[in-house]
């Protein structure tokens, strides 16, 4: 009991990124209609195919109903009480960072993502998205030398419309689900990555999302295409200020890997989670899917989910190419009244496709943490293999850990294996570490890192330590 109580305190560390940047913002009026969709498209000066894409999605959305199958509880969302477009006031995207509003640069500095030439991270190119728009992308020129396109999706629409038209909506059709339809209708910005044939992207790519406005929904759209033999490692990070209202974040991420291509997509999600009574926080309803279109292609998802009031997210892989590989490594930590319903779908279509799922859920406080997964072996997936492992750690007797691993197989020459376990951070283990002189917080942190090790090992080096720290921070004061 004492263990649980103080593990609980450990988790309840104040949110560090809760500040609001005071900056003049251009917003459109609240509410959603066909006119709003047209207005967003017009503001972004989009080609007709994209307007049509948005309108089609909007009409589909009108016909759909909010999903209710997840183990989540929240009041219905008033979609007319959300602002669908907000942008810091600055004329155009600046050619040089020197022209970007210093307040914005300062904001990203504070978040630990310095953008200016002197301070920016070496070997990581960053696209910084503030509310609905991308404000800066570093190392663009250097990447261009290798033929790599890394820019905001709005820019890509203007500069590479043929690529957008060819790939947008081909992995996550706009009518895939309620929130993907909504996103397809109103998406504001996001990142676009294109790695041409045979190119190994010379640096890590990263997008940092910041929600600033209190009543704005964030609907970003990310599209990553790796051509034959190309490879890239991409990381997204996200934070938001603390408001006592809930904000909607409904993103869509599409990945396409052609023959022999490989995409590694990592997320460190730290949206504001609401306070200890469950007031405020982000509703994070995200559709992420990768399509291993080519033979021997590989898509790997790694996520560290610590934020958001509600997370509803199932990064998935459609393994179509023969011998293609899908991976999902996840750590989800929930505390207070957070709810997370997350997992992965691995859809094996092609022969000899392989997938691995490793999910670690940590639930503390009054939170609910669910793993929901689907492993589907289609009739043609001869020789396919899946291995899934889902472990839950419970801290305190008020938190819930649910596991719903669904398997469907239609191919006898395939094997699917699922293992799951539930454990707690035991008083005896903590005492053992303490009795060797290790401080309580450190003992908790060691055990959590140990529990999550298989997943942290998958993160790019720079971020593994970051993720470890983030978890330790979230857990501070929550055990013991």
């Amino acid at each position: 009991m004492t263990t649980a109580a103080s593990v609980g305190d450990l988790v309840s560390q104040p949110y560090k990124y809760g500040f609001v940047t005071d900056i003049e913002t251009e917003k459109i009026a609240k509410g959603l209609s066909e006119d709003v969709v047209r207005l967003i498209s017009a503001k972004k000066d989009e080609p007709d195919f994209l307007l049509q894409f948005r309108l089609r999605a909007y009409r589909q959305w009108l016909q759909m109903e909010t999903p209710d199958w997840a183990a989540l509880g929240y009041p219905p969302i008033d979609f007319q009480n959300i602002i669908y477009y907000a942008a810091p006031k600055q004329r155009d995207k600046k050619a040089s960072l020197d022209e970007v509003d210093p307040k914005l640069l300062e904001t990203f500095d504070k978040l630990g993502i310095p953008l200016s030439e002197q301070k920016r991270l070496t070997n990581v190119a960053v696209d910084a998205v503030f509310d609905s728009v991308s404000i800066a992308t570093t190392y663009k020129e250097k990447l261009a030398e290798h033929g790599v396109i890394f820019c905001s999706i709005s820019e890509a629409v203007k500069e590479h419309p043929e690529l957008i038209e060819r790939y947008l909506g081909t992995v996550v059709p706009s009518n895939d689900n309620y929130y993907s339809a909504l996103n397809s209708a109103v998406f504001s910005d996001g990142s676009f990555v294109f790695i041409p044939k045979g190119v190994e992207c010379p640096m890590e790519l990263s997008t940092y999302f910041r929600i600033n406005s209190g009543d704005t929904g964030q609907f970003e759209r990310t599209l990553i295409v790796a051509e034959e033999g190309a490879s890239v490692s991409y990381l997204e990070g996200c934070t938001a200020p603390m408001f006592d209202t809930n904000q909607l974040h409904a993103a869509v991420v599409e990945l396409v890997a052609l023959d022999d291509a490989s995409i590694k997509y990592s997320t460190v999600q730290n949206w504001y989670a609401g306070d200890e009574h469950g007031v405020g926080g982000i509703y994070n309803f995200v559709t992420k899917r990768g399509h291993c279109r080519g033979d021997r292609s590989k898509i790997s998802w790694t996520q560290v989910e610590t934020g958001s009031a509600i997370t509803w997210k199932y990064p998935s892989c459609v393994l179509q190419g023969a011998d293609s590989v899908g991976e999902f490594y996840s750590v989800a930590l929930t505390n207070n009244h957070q709810q997370a319903d997350t997992g992965s779908k691995m859809v094996h279509v092609g022969p000899r496709t392989r997938s691995t799922i490793v999910s670690k859920g940590i639930s503390a406080g009054h939170s609910a943490n669910s793993y929901r997964g689907l492993v589907q072996i289609g009739p043609k997936a001869v020789g396919a293999r899946n291995y899934s492992q889902c472990d839950s750690m419970l801290i305190g007797d008020q938190a819930a850990a649910n596991t719903y691993p669904y398997i469907r197989s239609q191919q006898p020459l395939a094997s699917v294996e699922h293992e799951a376990s539930t454990c707690r951070m035991s008083e005896d283990q903590l005492f053992y570490l303490q009795s060797r002189g290790i401080a309580f917080e450190e003992a908790v942190s060691m055990m959590v890192s140990g529990f999550c090790r298989d997943v942290f090992n998958q993160l790019p080096m720079e971020f593994a330590a970051e993720a470890d720290k983030l978890l330790a921070l979230k857990l501070e004061g929550s055990v013991g």
Binding site: P379, A401, P405, Q410, P412, V416
Partner: protein, 449 residues
Amino acid sequence: MGASTVSAKTLATWTGELLAQLPAPSGPLAAVQGRGREALAALPLPSRHQEAWRFTDLALLAGLDLPPSGAQSSGITPDGPAPEGTSPQGACEDKPPTLRLQLDGRRDPLSGVVLPPGLTRLSDSELVLALGHTLAATGCEQHWPVELNHACASQLLALRVSSRAQVSLELVSDGATGLRPLRVLLILEEKAELQLCQRLTAAGSGLTSLVLEAHLGRGAKLQHGLVALGQPDGALLAHLAMEQDPESDVSLVAVSAGWGVSRLEPRVVQVDGSATTTLRGLQVVAGDQIADTHSHIAFGGPEGQLDQLHKAVADGRGRSVFNGAVRVPRAAQRTNAAQLSRSLLLSDRARIDTKPELEIVADDVRCAHGATVSCLQQDELFYLQSRGIAAEQASALLKRAFCEEVLRELPAPARLWCPFERLLAADGFESGPAPAVESGPEAPEGEAG
């Protein structure tokens, strides 16, 4: 369940016709029948849109050629190979406390039977109190198959096993056609022990509906072996609801094969925890059969134990579904639960759906679950072949080994009803009536080792 019989008739029409044909409520269950019929008329029909029925299409029921009135006690003599004409047998002589009863859904199974010591029939007033209690405790009293049973069943078997008594009971329901609603209620008093072997077989087109409730007092022990061997044009809907007081012990081994569609719902609640539950399931499908097991285990208090193994073999165009819910709320600290689902997929037109559901709100628990789906292990096959065993024989050996893990846990009498060959003779399922497992009332002692 031939495709031709799946006519345009919908489940709604079928249910409507069934309700219309049922005779007026009568017998000890008259009140239940009345309520069940009302409920059935009002309940939404099972459909693929409901999570609980997502994988199993009961619309197939509508294709069943049921003479529902014939199934009621309207004087029609049952046909088929089963010796229905013989009167229920009293206690077998060899093992004194063994009682074999015929359950056919039409006659009072206890009429003319002298109950051995330790067994008593529940009185009407006890029935009023006890009937439905365990269904409610396990949260299934309003399930469609349960209400269907309520609506149709006019007879029941309601027995009490006295404190500290040790009783062995065999319930046999052989070879029926048409509608066969079976209702069983068992109350095991403190430290009572009951070995219950139950056999359900079908002779032709029909629906067997079983609702069994068992309440185990403190320290009571129930060993239940259910062998359900059906026909491709037969359907089975069974709810097995168990309510366990502390220190009680339930062991349920359920084997089903050969039904056009079967749905088994073992539902267990450990009222105050501290009980032991062992579940073993084996379901075999071939042809166009669907077998579905939805198990649900809830812990109402601390220190409960669950050990569950569910196995499935799917061949032909068969579909096997397993959904295993385990609920461990806050009150259930120190629960130790393990669930394993293992499926053999033997044909590329067959399908396996398996979905464990673990919901835990207690930090000091050990809950593990696992699931595997695969065909026979190639390296095992190869090993046997490399020792000179023909491929076919090797795969038969491995299939047998796979099934044996569950079969060998059946209580001895039930084990004899369920030869392995009967389970996996896929052709046997589709070519005419199944070979009679055993026709006489005498147990074939010494037939198997």
